[in-house]
Symmetry: C2
Subunit: 423 residues, 2 copies
Amino acid sequence: MTFWNSLSKEQLKELYSSTLKEYEACKGKGLKLDMSRGKPGSDQLDLSNDMLSMSLDTFKCDGVETRNYGVLEGLESCRELFAQILGVQADQVFIGGNASLNLMYDVIAKAYTHGLKNSPAPWAKLDKVKFLCPVPGYDRHFTISSTFGMEMINIPMTEDGPDMDRVEEAVKDPLVKGIWCVPKFSNPQGIVYSGATIERMAALKPAAPDFTIMWDNAYVVHEFEGEFVPLPDIVSACAKAGNPDMVYEFASTSKITFPGAGVGAFASSVGNIEYMKKLISAQTIGYDKINQYRHVRYFGNLDGILEHMRKHAKIMRPKFDIVIKYLDERVAPFGIASYHCPKGGYFVSLETMPGCAKRTHALAKDAGVTLTGAGATYPNGKDPLDSNLRIAPSFPPVQELEMAMDVLCTCVKMASLEKLINE
Amino acid sequence: MTFWNSLSKEQLKELYSSTLKEYEACKGKGLKLDMSRGKPGSDQLDLSNDMLSMSLDTFKCDGVETRNYGVLEGLESCRELFAQILGVQADQVFIGGNASLNLMYDVIAKAYTHGLKNSPAPWAKLDKVKFLCPVPGYDRHFTISSTFGMEMINIPMTEDGPDMDRVEEAVKDPLVKGIWCVPKFSNPQGIVYSGATIERMAALKPAAPDFTIMWDNAYVVHEFEGEFVPLPDIVSACAKAGNPDMVYEFASTSKITFPGAGVGAFASSVGNIEYMKKLISAQTIGYDKINQYRHVRYFGNLDGILEHMRKHAKIMRPKFDIVIKYLDERVAPFGIASYHCPKGGYFVSLETMPGCAKRTHALAKDAGVTLTGAGATYPNGKDPLDSNLRIAPSFPPVQELEMAMDVLCTCVKMASLEKLINE
């Protein structure tokens, strides 16, 4: 095969006309397929059904009546479970409601209304707040920054995580108040931050005393290939580097048990936990302890979680294999797009030729395949090169996924040929 | 019996020495009783246990997969259930997480960070925000106001609800941005707002365009004496009066099923729901739909809820009867305190002689009986007359409640005698 950028206009036009036929055939199928969000498939949801019907006996956990008010920071056993998952201590864990995203929002919201533990002033009192956004990244992180009116600064991702030279430079600006990170199986590229990246992140010397690493460890136990590999504990790393309060780490069971009916948590220094507990005590009497208890009873400990995750892996891996197979066979040979082959997480990040992401998205949509919006992986939806697309293969059943990838590959080819012909 | 304020010093001293003996006897019992918070007793919690183990079949409700992400505003059937409870329309309901308190906090927090629908500016940009606080009232409302630095203005309660003359006067100040209300079985007095009060509230003409009634209908179906009596629908009343966006109404199943594992909701104009949905979409993908579905399946409709509430009433009424019996027999005859006899809700409000609340609380504490902190029913914990105490009889079993009320009556007598003797 020859890379298409070395072909003549005539050759390209020939290719275009055959690809157009392929595309029209796709459209003719009247498909309605969705690869837009990182939603578990229904077979994944079924894995945890027993949790919903199991007996909870006396409803007591650690001597606490789980059905009544109280215990703002969460059940001790649930804090311990998350401590094992994150490799931290139980007293460094705060258990929240059904969504870690809500906890991230709450931390940022409280930074605005009250300030964080080391804030000279609430961020709402500042004229400008800047936040570092490794790109491509998770659209919902950027949405939180956006809803609070932050200026977002793109930081390129490398194979080892965010470009730390850029980060170290950026944090010299006292208006830079934090950074969004998905350190393991990053959304969307599936990159795992290297030990060196994590060490440099923990050792940052930001000008802002309340600079905060928003460490969204959403895929902490979500390997679908190979065994569980723990990531170095960022909370300890920050403490060792003299930055004990610099990080909030987030995790949830949304993609372990049920999205929306799981348990979310954050880990941080004991000082931050105490500080947040005080602020959160004005917000709620406590979160859903019955659901915390369900999770504790169902999993017991990290081993129970990992055993459960191997069942998810068995469902996820074939889907990612399909995505990669299609890209390897139908896109890679022509040099028109690149991608990572992640070993966990929920996404494959596709890098088209510059200027081809939106067009590919539109073509796919017209052929009945919904992808995450082009640009969504960048702050304010603005992908400067218009080249990144996020593929979320978890939700469609295998057969639908094959059809969707078939369409997608055709669309990437179409968009690339249009570009090459018009260059 | 003679009212003690007409007795001579000698008579009072005699009474004091006999009451002191009673008190010392109480102390000698080494009690450890709690009447501090409105927590349901464990027999009340047991009423809903079946909800936790019932089959949810396909986990589909209204065609929605309850186990997966999505449907930010809540399941349609759950919105309908709350619409029936509150006497509003389903499209005026937003279903949240486990706590209506958290929704109240979120509305105020968003007023600060983003502004409400009709706000000229986010409240965080203002030098001062004032909020009306009917007193005595609910401490957690005041805590929300306090954590955001509001100036709280006391509004006296009457038998018909807040003193509306004062409210109508106060809202002429454009810095006055809202009012906290518990319209049915108010916390702590158990007062039900009259129709006239509700009408005047809905027809307010505040100077602030974003003045907001925080209508905490926490005890909407919580009659323990007599049948359910619906309150006029405040959302419609505001709309009719030309103030469609002026109210957020809150309710939850915390005291219907499980505190902490119930479902919270708010009702408001469709415009406010849309406005809030947009802001909340940055905060979470959605709340716990499985728990919403549990509630829908378990209760079906308002009738199901009311049938369930009659079971609560059977447990609650005898407890309130004990409280009132003790007060009627051991306190009322001496003219040393007054109180309401509520027909629903969770509290009895005790009005001691001025200057006696803190002392009564301290005496009770020393005798092993924990009451809600004296002053807690006032903003910033400052009861200007030091006379209000909140009695929460739901949590202790009947026998313990009898002992606790015995102690409390003795302590009220002690504190009153100390005051009368030293006057």
